[in-house]
Protein backbone atom coordinates (compact mmCIF):
# COMPACT_ATOMS: atom_id res chain seq x y z
CA UNK A 1 0.00 0.00 0.00
CA UNK A 2 1.18 3.43 -0.80
CA UNK A 3 2.27 5.41 2.27
CA UNK A 4 0.06 8.26 1.15
CA UNK A 5 -3.01 6.16 1.40
CA UNK A 6 -1.90 4.80 4.72
CA UNK A 7 -1.53 8.32 6.04
CA UNK A 8 -4.99 9.22 4.77
CA UNK A 9 -6.51 6.17 6.35
CA UNK A 10 -4.85 7.04 9.60
CA UNK A 11 -6.12 10.59 9.37
CA UNK A 12 -9.62 9.41 8.68
CA UNK A 13 -9.39 7.04 11.58
CA UNK A 14 -8.54 9.86 13.92
CA UNK A 15 -11.35 11.92 12.43
CA UNK A 16 -13.80 9.16 13.14
CA UNK A 17 -12.55 8.97 16.69
CA UNK A 18 -12.89 12.71 17.08
CA UNK A 19 -16.39 12.69 15.63
CA UNK A 20 -17.46 9.97 18.01
CA UNK A 21 -16.10 11.86 21.01
CA UNK A 22 -17.66 15.13 19.84
CA UNK A 23 -21.03 13.44 19.67
CA UNK A 24 -20.81 12.64 23.39
CA UNK A 25 -19.37 16.10 24.14
CA UNK A 26 -16.01 14.68 24.99
CA UNK A 27 -14.51 17.88 23.72
CA UNK A 28 -11.11 19.04 24.89
CA UNK A 29 -9.81 15.74 26.25
CA UNK A 30 -11.14 13.64 23.37
CA UNK A 31 -12.50 15.19 20.19
CA UNK A 32 -10.02 18.05 19.97
CA UNK A 33 -7.05 15.73 20.50
CA UNK A 34 -8.30 13.18 17.96
CA UNK A 35 -9.09 15.81 15.34
CA UNK A 36 -5.76 17.55 15.81
CA UNK A 37 -4.18 14.11 15.39
CA UNK A 38 -6.17 13.57 12.20
CA UNK A 39 -4.95 16.93 10.82
CA UNK A 40 -1.39 16.11 11.68
CA UNK A 41 -1.68 13.13 9.37
CA UNK A 42 -3.47 15.01 6.67
CA UNK A 43 -3.76 18.78 6.81
CA UNK A 44 -6.21 18.68 3.92
CA UNK A 45 -8.72 16.57 5.81
CA UNK A 46 -11.40 19.25 5.45
CA UNK A 47 -14.01 17.36 7.42
CA UNK A 48 -11.67 16.96 10.38
CA UNK A 49 -10.70 20.66 10.26
CA UNK A 50 -14.29 21.81 10.02
CA UNK A 51 -15.28 19.54 12.88
CA UNK A 52 -12.37 20.80 14.94
CA UNK A 53 -13.66 24.36 14.38
CA UNK A 54 -17.13 23.29 15.38
CA UNK A 55 -15.81 21.68 18.58
CA UNK A 56 -13.95 24.88 19.42
CA UNK A 57 -17.14 26.83 18.77
CA UNK A 58 -19.02 24.47 21.06
CA UNK A 59 -16.91 25.18 24.10
CA UNK A 60 -17.68 28.87 23.95
CA UNK A 61 -14.47 30.68 24.63
CA UNK A 62 -12.65 29.30 21.61
CA UNK A 63 -14.71 30.92 18.85
CA UNK A 64 -11.64 32.59 17.43
CA UNK A 65 -9.91 29.24 17.26
CA UNK A 66 -12.95 27.91 15.41
CA UNK A 67 -12.80 30.75 12.91
CA UNK A 68 -9.10 30.13 12.37
CA UNK A 69 -9.79 26.51 11.50
CA UNK A 70 -12.69 27.36 9.21
CA UNK A 71 -10.69 30.06 7.38
CA UNK A 72 -7.82 27.64 6.75
CA UNK A 73 -10.30 25.02 5.67
CA UNK A 74 -11.83 27.42 3.16
CA UNK A 75 -8.42 28.32 1.80
CA UNK A 76 -7.57 24.70 1.33
CA UNK A 77 -10.90 23.89 -0.25
CA UNK A 78 -12.74 26.95 -1.56
CA UNK A 79 -15.61 25.01 -3.16
CA UNK A 80 -18.34 22.93 -1.53
CA UNK A 81 -16.99 23.60 1.89
CA UNK A 82 -19.32 23.84 4.84
CA UNK A 83 -16.79 26.12 6.54
CA UNK A 84 -18.04 28.83 4.21
CA UNK A 85 -21.49 28.47 5.76
CA UNK A 86 -20.09 28.59 9.29
CA UNK A 87 -18.06 31.73 8.60
CA UNK A 88 -20.98 33.51 6.99
CA UNK A 89 -23.23 32.49 9.85
CA UNK A 90 -20.84 34.01 12.38
CA UNK A 91 -20.31 37.12 10.25
CA UNK A 92 -24.06 37.68 9.93
CA UNK A 93 -24.48 37.69 13.71
CA UNK A 94 -22.02 40.51 14.25
CA UNK A 95 -23.57 41.59 17.54
CA UNK A 96 -23.25 38.14 18.96
CA UNK A 97 -19.66 37.94 17.78
CA UNK A 98 -18.92 41.29 19.40
CA UNK A 99 -20.57 40.15 22.61
CA UNK A 100 -18.53 36.99 22.53
CA UNK A 101 -15.37 38.96 21.92
CA UNK A 102 -16.16 41.14 24.95
CA UNK A 103 -16.66 38.01 27.04
CA UNK A 104 -13.27 36.72 25.89
CA UNK A 105 -11.65 40.01 26.85
CA UNK A 106 -13.29 39.86 30.26
CA UNK A 107 -12.04 36.34 30.73
CA UNK A 108 -8.50 37.38 29.81
CA UNK A 109 -8.84 40.29 32.23
CA UNK A 110 -9.95 37.87 34.95
CA UNK A 111 -6.79 35.89 34.41
CA UNK A 112 -4.84 39.07 35.08
CA UNK A 113 -6.92 39.77 38.20
CA UNK A 114 -6.27 36.29 39.53
CA UNK A 115 -2.54 36.72 39.11
CA UNK A 116 -2.76 39.82 41.28
CA UNK A 117 -3.23 39.56 45.02
CA UNK A 118 -6.82 40.15 46.11
CA UNK A 119 -8.25 40.34 42.61
CA UNK A 120 -10.35 37.21 43.02
CA UNK A 121 -13.49 39.02 44.10
CA UNK A 122 -13.43 41.17 41.00
CA UNK A 123 -12.67 38.11 38.88
CA UNK A 124 -15.65 36.26 40.38
CA UNK A 125 -17.97 39.12 39.49
CA UNK A 126 -16.68 39.32 35.91
CA UNK A 127 -16.71 35.57 35.41
CA UNK A 128 -20.29 35.40 36.61
CA UNK A 129 -21.19 38.03 34.05
CA UNK A 130 -19.36 36.09 31.33
CA UNK A 131 -21.13 32.86 32.23
CA UNK A 132 -24.48 34.62 32.40
CA UNK A 133 -24.03 36.05 28.91
CA UNK A 134 -22.37 32.96 27.38
CA UNK A 135 -23.32 29.76 29.20
CA UNK A 136 -21.02 27.61 26.95
CA UNK A 137 -17.79 29.43 27.96
CA UNK A 138 -16.05 26.39 29.45
CA UNK A 139 -12.85 28.11 30.54
CA UNK A 140 -14.83 30.69 32.49
CA UNK A 141 -16.51 27.89 34.47
CA UNK A 142 -13.19 26.26 35.17
CA UNK A 143 -11.49 29.46 36.30
CA UNK A 144 -14.43 30.38 38.50
CA UNK A 145 -14.36 26.91 40.06
CA UNK A 146 -10.63 27.24 40.70
CA UNK A 147 -11.16 30.57 42.46
CA UNK A 148 -13.95 29.09 44.60
CA UNK A 149 -11.70 26.16 45.50
CA UNK A 150 -8.97 28.61 46.43
CA UNK A 151 -11.48 30.44 48.64
CA UNK A 152 -12.62 27.12 50.16
CA UNK A 153 -16.11 27.55 48.77
CA UNK A 154 -16.24 23.99 47.58
CA UNK A 155 -20.00 23.76 47.22
CA UNK A 156 -20.07 26.60 44.76
CA UNK A 157 -17.04 25.22 43.00
CA UNK A 158 -18.76 21.89 42.74
CA UNK A 159 -21.92 23.43 41.29
CA UNK A 160 -19.86 25.31 38.72
CA UNK A 161 -17.85 22.23 37.83
CA UNK A 162 -20.98 20.16 37.34
CA UNK A 163 -22.17 22.73 34.82
CA UNK A 164 -18.76 22.66 33.15
CA UNK A 165 -18.83 18.91 32.97
CA UNK A 166 -22.07 19.09 31.00
CA UNK A 167 -20.26 21.17 28.37
CA UNK A 168 -17.20 18.93 28.21
CA UNK A 169 -17.59 15.57 29.90
CA UNK A 170 -13.95 14.45 29.94
CA UNK A 171 -12.13 17.72 30.29
CA UNK A 172 -9.02 17.08 32.31
CA UNK A 173 -9.18 20.30 34.27
CA UNK A 174 -12.84 19.87 35.10
CA UNK A 175 -12.33 16.35 36.33
CA UNK A 176 -9.24 17.28 38.32
CA UNK A 177 -11.04 20.11 40.08
CA UNK A 178 -14.07 17.94 40.76
CA UNK A 179 -11.86 15.35 42.31
CA UNK A 180 -10.17 18.01 44.43
CA UNK A 181 -13.51 19.37 45.59
CA UNK A 182 -14.66 15.88 46.46
CA UNK A 183 -11.47 15.35 48.43
CA UNK A 184 -11.90 18.60 50.30
CA UNK A 185 -15.47 17.75 51.23
CA UNK A 186 -14.45 14.32 52.39
CA UNK A 187 -11.54 15.66 54.39
CA UNK A 188 -13.21 18.46 56.21
CA UNK A 189 -16.83 17.57 55.87
CA UNK A 190 -19.55 20.08 55.75
CA UNK A 191 -18.51 21.66 59.02
CA UNK A 192 -15.09 22.44 57.65
CA UNK A 193 -16.64 24.11 54.68
CA UNK A 194 -18.85 26.13 56.93
CA UNK A 195 -15.85 27.30 58.89
CA UNK A 196 -14.43 28.90 55.78
CA UNK A 197 -17.63 30.71 55.12
CA UNK A 198 -18.70 33.87 56.70
CA UNK A 199 -20.81 33.33 59.77
CA UNK A 200 -24.20 32.07 58.68
CA UNK A 201 -26.01 34.64 60.64
CA UNK A 202 -24.18 37.36 58.76
CA UNK A 203 -25.36 36.30 55.30
CA UNK A 204 -28.45 35.30 53.42
CA UNK A 205 -27.89 32.83 50.60
CA UNK A 206 -30.36 31.91 47.88
CA UNK A 207 -30.30 30.52 44.37
CA UNK A 208 -31.43 32.43 41.30
CA UNK A 209 -31.33 30.19 38.24
CA UNK A 210 -27.87 28.77 37.95
CA UNK A 211 -26.39 31.28 40.40
CA UNK A 212 -26.20 31.31 44.14
CA UNK A 213 -26.62 34.82 45.48
CA UNK A 214 -25.21 35.73 48.87
CA UNK A 215 -26.37 38.86 50.57
CA UNK A 216 -25.32 40.16 53.98
CA UNK A 217 -28.03 39.98 56.62
CA UNK A 218 -29.54 43.05 58.13
CA UNK A 219 -27.43 44.06 61.05
CA UNK A 220 -27.95 46.48 63.94
CA UNK A 221 -25.26 48.72 62.57
CA UNK A 222 -26.97 48.80 59.20
CA UNK A 223 -30.30 49.51 60.90
CA UNK A 224 -28.68 52.28 62.88
CA UNK A 225 -27.15 53.62 59.69
CA UNK A 226 -30.58 53.64 58.10
CA UNK A 227 -32.03 55.44 61.10
CA UNK A 228 -29.16 57.89 60.99
CA UNK A 229 -29.79 58.44 57.31
CA UNK A 230 -33.45 59.10 58.08
CA UNK A 231 -32.43 61.49 60.87
CA UNK A 232 -30.04 63.22 58.49
CA UNK A 233 -32.83 63.65 55.96
CA UNK A 234 -35.04 65.14 58.67
CA UNK A 235 -32.27 67.48 59.80
CA UNK A 236 -31.72 68.48 56.19
CA UNK A 237 -35.40 69.23 55.77
CA UNK A 238 -35.42 71.30 58.96
CA UNK A 239 -32.33 73.20 57.85
CA UNK A 240 -33.89 73.78 54.45
CA UNK A 241 -37.08 75.07 56.05
CA UNK A 242 -35.03 77.33 58.34
CA UNK A 243 -33.07 78.59 55.36
CA UNK A 244 -36.28 79.43 53.53
CA UNK A 245 -37.74 81.02 56.66
CA UNK A 246 -34.76 83.21 57.46
CA UNK A 247 -33.45 84.03 53.99
CA UNK A 248 -36.19 83.61 51.44
CA UNK A 249 -39.26 84.60 53.47
CA UNK A 250 -37.88 88.05 54.50
CA UNK A 251 -37.16 88.85 50.87
CA UNK A 252 -40.65 87.75 49.88
CA UNK A 253 -42.17 89.73 52.77
CA UNK A 254 -40.10 92.76 51.82
CA UNK A 255 -41.35 92.57 48.27
CA UNK A 256 -44.88 92.18 49.54
CA UNK A 257 -44.53 95.12 51.93
CA UNK A 258 -43.04 97.23 49.14
CA UNK A 259 -45.99 96.37 46.95
CA UNK A 260 -48.37 97.25 49.80
CA UNK A 261 -46.54 100.52 50.40
CA UNK A 262 -46.79 101.38 46.73
CA UNK A 263 -50.48 100.56 46.80
CA UNK A 264 -50.88 102.65 49.97
CA UNK A 265 -49.11 105.55 48.26
CA UNK A 266 -51.34 105.22 45.23
CA UNK A 267 -54.45 105.05 47.42
CA UNK A 268 -53.35 108.04 49.52
CA UNK A 269 -52.77 110.03 46.33
CA UNK A 270 -56.23 109.06 45.15
CA UNK A 271 -57.66 110.01 48.55
CA UNK A 272 -55.90 113.38 48.44
CA UNK A 273 -57.24 113.99 44.95
CA UNK A 274 -60.74 113.03 46.05
CA UNK A 275 -60.46 115.17 49.17
CA UNK A 276 -59.37 118.11 47.05
CA UNK A 277 -62.36 117.52 44.78
CA UNK A 278 -64.67 117.21 47.79
CA UNK A 279 -63.32 120.40 49.36
CA UNK A 280 -63.71 122.24 46.06
CA UNK A 281 -67.26 120.98 45.76
CA UNK A 282 -67.88 121.85 49.42
CA UNK A 283 -66.67 125.38 48.77
CA UNK A 284 -68.90 125.60 45.75
CA UNK A 285 -71.79 124.27 47.83
CA UNK A 286 -71.05 126.81 50.57
CA UNK A 287 -71.04 129.54 48.00
CA UNK A 288 -74.36 128.31 46.70
CA UNK A 289 -75.70 128.11 50.25
CA UNK A 290 -74.43 131.59 51.06
CA UNK A 291 -75.97 132.88 47.91
CA UNK A 292 -79.18 131.06 48.84
CA UNK A 293 -79.11 132.51 52.38
CA UNK A 294 -78.53 135.96 51.01
CA UNK A 295 -81.33 135.47 48.57
CA UNK A 296 -83.54 134.19 51.39
CA UNK A 297 -82.58 137.20 53.50
CA UNK A 298 -83.37 139.47 50.61
CA UNK A 299 -86.69 137.70 50.19
CA UNK A 300 -87.38 137.93 53.92
CA UNK A 301 -86.36 141.52 53.96
CA UNK A 302 -88.55 142.23 50.98
CA UNK A 303 -91.39 140.43 52.66
CA UNK A 304 -90.78 142.30 55.93
CA UNK A 305 -90.70 145.56 54.02
CA UNK A 306 -93.87 144.63 52.25
CA UNK A 307 -95.54 143.64 55.52
CA UNK A 308 -94.27 146.75 57.20
CA UNK A 309 -95.68 148.96 54.49
CA UNK A 310 -98.91 147.06 54.52
CA UNK A 311 -99.26 147.45 58.28
CA UNK A 312 -98.16 151.05 58.10
CA UNK A 313 -100.88 151.77 55.57
CA UNK A 314 -103.33 149.82 57.68
CA UNK A 315 -102.47 151.83 60.81
CA UNK A 316 -102.65 155.02 58.80
CA UNK A 317 -106.12 154.17 57.54
CA UNK A 318 -107.15 153.10 61.07
CA UNK A 319 -105.87 156.40 62.43
CA UNK A 320 -107.78 158.33 59.81
CA UNK A 321 -110.94 156.38 60.41
CA UNK A 322 -110.81 156.99 64.20
CA UNK A 323 -112.54 153.70 64.87
CA UNK A 324 -109.58 151.97 66.49
CA UNK A 325 -108.02 152.37 69.91
CA UNK A 326 -104.55 153.82 70.35
CA UNK A 327 -103.35 150.68 71.98
CA UNK A 328 -104.33 148.50 69.01
CA UNK A 329 -102.74 150.86 66.57
CA UNK A 330 -99.66 151.06 68.75
CA UNK A 331 -99.44 147.27 68.76
CA UNK A 332 -99.69 147.28 64.98
CA UNK A 333 -96.99 149.92 64.73
CA UNK A 334 -94.74 147.91 67.04
CA UNK A 335 -94.94 145.03 64.62
CA UNK A 336 -93.51 147.23 61.88
CA UNK A 337 -89.73 147.17 61.36
CA UNK A 338 -88.85 150.80 60.92
CA UNK A 339 -85.46 150.12 59.32
CA UNK A 340 -87.09 148.14 56.50
CA UNK A 341 -89.01 151.20 55.43
CA UNK A 342 -87.92 153.80 52.99
CA UNK A 343 -87.52 157.47 53.82
CA UNK A 344 -91.15 158.32 53.15
CA UNK A 345 -92.26 155.25 55.06
CA UNK A 346 -90.06 156.18 58.01
CA UNK A 347 -91.48 159.68 57.89
CA UNK A 348 -95.02 158.32 57.92
CA UNK A 349 -94.10 155.85 60.72
CA UNK A 350 -92.65 158.66 62.83
CA UNK A 351 -95.72 160.81 62.27
CA UNK A 352 -98.06 158.01 63.29
CA UNK A 353 -95.97 156.96 66.28
CA UNK A 354 -95.72 160.53 67.51
CA UNK A 355 -99.47 160.78 67.46
CA UNK A 356 -100.27 157.30 68.81
CA UNK A 357 -97.46 156.22 71.16
CA UNK A 358 -97.84 158.88 73.97
CA UNK A 359 -101.44 157.96 74.62
CA UNK A 360 -100.80 154.28 74.13
CA UNK A 361 -97.84 154.43 76.49
CA UNK A 362 -99.85 156.09 79.17
CA UNK A 363 -102.63 153.53 78.97
CA UNK A 364 -100.39 150.51 78.71
CA UNK A 365 -98.28 151.72 81.60
CA UNK A 366 -101.36 152.17 83.77
CA UNK A 367 -102.61 148.71 82.83
CA UNK A 368 -99.14 147.25 83.51
CA UNK A 369 -98.92 148.85 86.95
CA UNK A 370 -102.38 147.56 87.72
CA UNK A 371 -101.42 144.05 86.73
CA UNK A 372 -98.22 144.36 88.77
CA UNK A 373 -100.10 145.35 91.84
CA UNK A 374 -102.56 142.56 91.34
CA UNK A 375 -99.49 140.27 90.97
CA UNK A 376 -100.45 139.28 87.43
CA UNK A 377 -96.81 139.47 86.44
CA UNK A 378 -97.13 137.99 82.98
CA UNK A 379 -99.72 140.51 81.97
CA UNK A 380 -97.71 143.27 83.58
CA UNK A 381 -94.59 142.19 81.69
CA UNK A 382 -96.53 142.20 78.42
CA UNK A 383 -97.91 145.71 78.89
CA UNK A 384 -94.74 147.21 80.28
CA UNK A 385 -92.60 145.64 77.55
CA UNK A 386 -94.77 147.33 74.94
CA UNK A 387 -94.41 150.62 76.82
CA UNK A 388 -90.66 150.24 76.86
CA UNK A 389 -90.64 149.43 73.15
CA UNK A 390 -92.68 152.50 72.42
CA UNK A 391 -90.75 154.82 74.76
CA UNK A 392 -87.93 153.41 76.81
CA UNK A 393 -87.52 156.63 78.77
CA UNK A 394 -91.19 156.84 79.57
CA UNK A 395 -91.88 158.69 82.76
CA UNK A 396 -88.17 159.18 83.59
CA UNK A 397 -87.38 155.47 83.23
CA UNK A 398 -90.20 154.40 85.47
CA UNK A 399 -91.48 151.94 82.81
CA UNK A 400 -88.14 150.09 82.89
CA UNK A 401 -88.19 150.08 86.68
CA UNK A 402 -91.69 148.60 86.75
CA UNK A 403 -90.77 146.01 84.13
CA UNK A 404 -87.81 144.93 86.28
CA UNK A 405 -90.14 144.69 89.26
CA UNK A 406 -92.54 142.53 87.24
CA UNK A 407 -89.72 140.16 86.27
CA UNK A 408 -88.54 140.11 89.89
CA UNK A 409 -92.02 139.35 91.07
CA UNK A 410 -92.31 136.57 88.54
CA UNK A 411 -88.99 135.15 89.74
CA UNK A 412 -87.14 135.76 86.47
CA UNK A 413 -84.05 137.08 88.19
CA UNK A 414 -81.89 137.37 85.09
CA UNK A 415 -84.30 139.62 83.24
CA UNK A 416 -84.98 141.55 86.42
CA UNK A 417 -81.25 142.17 86.87
CA UNK A 418 -80.93 143.11 83.22
CA UNK A 419 -83.61 145.76 83.41
CA UNK A 420 -82.45 147.06 86.81
CA UNK A 421 -78.96 147.36 85.43
CA UNK A 422 -80.25 149.19 82.35
CA UNK A 423 -82.09 151.53 84.67
CA UNK A 424 -78.93 152.21 86.67
CA UNK A 425 -76.77 152.63 83.55
CA UNK A 426 -79.12 154.76 81.51
CA UNK A 427 -81.25 156.77 83.87
CA UNK A 428 -78.82 157.75 86.54
CA UNK A 429 -80.69 160.87 87.37
CA UNK A 430 -84.03 159.22 87.83
CA UNK A 431 -85.62 159.46 91.15
CA UNK A 432 -85.99 155.65 91.19
CA UNK A 433 -82.32 155.08 90.75
CA UNK A 434 -81.58 154.38 94.40
CA UNK A 435 -84.39 151.84 94.59
CA UNK A 436 -83.15 150.19 91.40
CA UNK A 437 -79.62 149.95 92.80
CA UNK A 438 -80.87 148.40 96.04
CA UNK A 439 -82.97 145.83 94.21
CA UNK A 440 -80.05 145.04 91.96
CA UNK A 441 -77.82 144.57 94.98
CA UNK A 442 -80.40 142.29 96.57
CA UNK A 443 -80.66 140.22 93.43
CA UNK A 444 -76.84 140.03 93.26
CA UNK A 445 -76.83 138.60 96.81
CA UNK A 446 -75.47 141.59 98.70
CA UNK A 447 -76.43 140.96 102.37
CA UNK A 448 -75.79 144.47 103.57
CA UNK A 449 -78.09 145.75 100.93
CA UNK A 450 -80.56 143.11 101.99
CA UNK A 451 -80.61 144.33 105.64
CA UNK A 452 -81.06 147.88 104.65
CA UNK A 453 -83.38 146.93 101.88
CA UNK A 454 -86.21 146.20 104.24
CA UNK A 455 -86.43 149.72 105.39
CA UNK A 456 -85.47 151.19 102.08
CA UNK A 457 -87.82 148.83 100.30
CA UNK A 458 -90.48 149.80 102.67
CA UNK A 459 -89.63 153.40 102.19
CA UNK A 460 -89.39 152.90 98.50
CA UNK A 461 -92.69 151.20 98.51
CA UNK A 462 -93.99 154.07 100.52
CA UNK A 463 -92.45 156.54 98.23
CA UNK A 464 -93.54 154.37 95.36
CA UNK A 465 -96.99 154.43 96.65
CA UNK A 466 -96.68 158.10 96.98
CA UNK A 467 -95.18 158.17 93.50
CA UNK A 468 -97.96 156.06 92.25
CA UNK A 469 -100.27 158.34 93.87
CA UNK A 470 -98.42 161.16 92.21
CA UNK A 471 -98.47 159.36 88.98
CA UNK A 472 -102.01 158.44 89.48
CA UNK A 473 -102.61 162.01 89.85
CA UNK A 474 -101.17 162.57 86.49
CA UNK A 475 -103.07 159.79 84.72
CA UNK A 476 -105.79 159.15 87.22
CA UNK A 477 -108.19 160.41 84.73
CA UNK A 478 -107.95 157.27 82.85
CA UNK A 479 -107.30 154.90 85.74
CA UNK A 480 -110.11 156.17 87.79
CA UNK A 481 -112.45 154.81 85.25
CA UNK A 482 -111.34 151.32 86.20
CA UNK A 483 -111.61 149.87 82.71
CA UNK A 484 -108.69 151.09 80.62
CA UNK A 485 -109.99 149.81 77.37
CA UNK A 486 -113.26 151.52 77.86
CA UNK A 487 -111.51 154.67 78.83
CA UNK A 488 -109.36 154.28 75.74
CA UNK A 489 -112.41 153.97 73.69
CA UNK A 490 -113.99 156.84 75.24
CA UNK A 491 -110.85 158.88 74.91
CA UNK A 492 -110.45 157.83 71.34
CA UNK A 493 -113.99 158.71 70.77
CA UNK A 494 -113.31 162.02 72.25
Amino acid sequence: MDYTKKIMYQSNSWYNDGLRKAQVRDMSGGAIVSLQQSLQYNRENIAARNLLGLVYYGIGGEVSEALVEWIISKNLCPRDNIADYYIKNVQNSANELESLNQAIKKFNQCLVYCQQNGGEDLAIIQLKQVIASHPTFLKAYQLLALIYIQMNQNTKARQILIEAKKLDTTNELTLTYLQEVTKQRGRYGKNAERSFRKPKSATVEYSLGNETIIQPKRSKIRDMAQQLAFANILIGMVLGAALIWFLVAPAVNQNRSEKLNNQMRAYSEQINTLEAQVSAQTRTLDQYRTAGDEAQKAVDQAKATSDSYEKLLQVSSQSRSGEYSYTDMADALLEITRDSLGDSGKEMYDTLSDSIFPTACRRRYAAGVDSLESEDYDQAIEYLTKVVKMDESYNDGQAIYRLAQAYQGKGDTENAKTWYQKMVDTYNNSRYIEDAKKQLAILNGDASADTSSDTSADSSSVSEDSENSDDSNSYDNSQDNGDYDNSDNTEDNE
Binding site: R43, Q142, L146
Partner: protein
Amino acid sequence: MLNYEEELKKFKPSLEVDQIEEAVYKEDLTDMQDIVKEVMAKKEKTVRR
Protein backbone atom coordinates in the same frame (compact mmCIF):
# COMPACT_ATOMS: atom_id res chain seq x y z
CA MET B 1 -4.19 19.80 47.30
CA LEU B 2 -4.15 21.97 44.24
CA ASN B 3 -1.49 24.59 43.76
CA TYR B 4 -3.45 27.65 42.81
CA GLU B 5 -0.60 29.41 41.10
CA GLU B 6 0.33 26.37 39.08
CA GLU B 7 -3.25 25.76 38.09
CA LEU B 8 -3.57 29.37 36.96
CA LYS B 9 -0.69 28.85 34.59
CA LYS B 10 -2.70 26.16 32.79
CA PHE B 11 -5.21 28.78 31.74
CA LYS B 12 -4.12 30.47 28.55
CA PRO B 13 -5.74 33.65 27.32
CA SER B 14 -8.40 32.95 24.71
CA LEU B 15 -7.81 34.13 21.21
CA GLU B 16 -9.62 37.40 20.54
CA VAL B 17 -11.34 38.07 17.24
CA ASP B 18 -8.86 40.70 16.08
CA GLN B 19 -6.04 38.22 16.56
CA ILE B 20 -7.52 35.67 14.12
CA GLU B 21 -5.55 36.84 11.08
CA GLU B 22 -2.28 36.59 12.92
CA ALA B 23 -3.24 33.15 14.21
CA VAL B 24 -4.07 31.93 10.69
CA TYR B 25 -0.66 32.96 9.44
CA LYS B 26 1.08 31.37 12.41
CA GLU B 27 -0.82 28.08 12.08
CA ASP B 28 1.58 25.21 11.49
CA LEU B 29 0.10 23.18 8.66
CA THR B 30 2.86 20.64 8.42
CA ASP B 31 1.45 17.10 8.23
CA MET B 32 2.72 13.57 8.02
CA GLN B 33 3.00 13.63 4.20
CA ASP B 34 5.35 16.62 4.38
CA ILE B 35 7.53 14.80 6.86
CA VAL B 36 7.61 11.61 4.75
CA LYS B 37 8.48 13.61 1.64
CA GLU B 38 11.25 15.40 3.50
CA VAL B 39 12.64 12.10 4.81
CA MET B 40 12.51 10.52 1.36
CA ALA B 41 14.21 13.56 -0.16
CA LYS B 42 17.03 13.38 2.34
CA LYS B 43 17.36 9.63 1.69
CA GLU B 44 17.66 10.19 -2.09
CA LYS B 45 20.37 12.78 -1.55
CA THR B 46 22.32 10.37 0.58
CA VAL B 47 22.02 7.57 -2.01
CA ARG B 48 23.27 9.84 -4.85
CA ARG B 49 26.32 10.78 -2.88
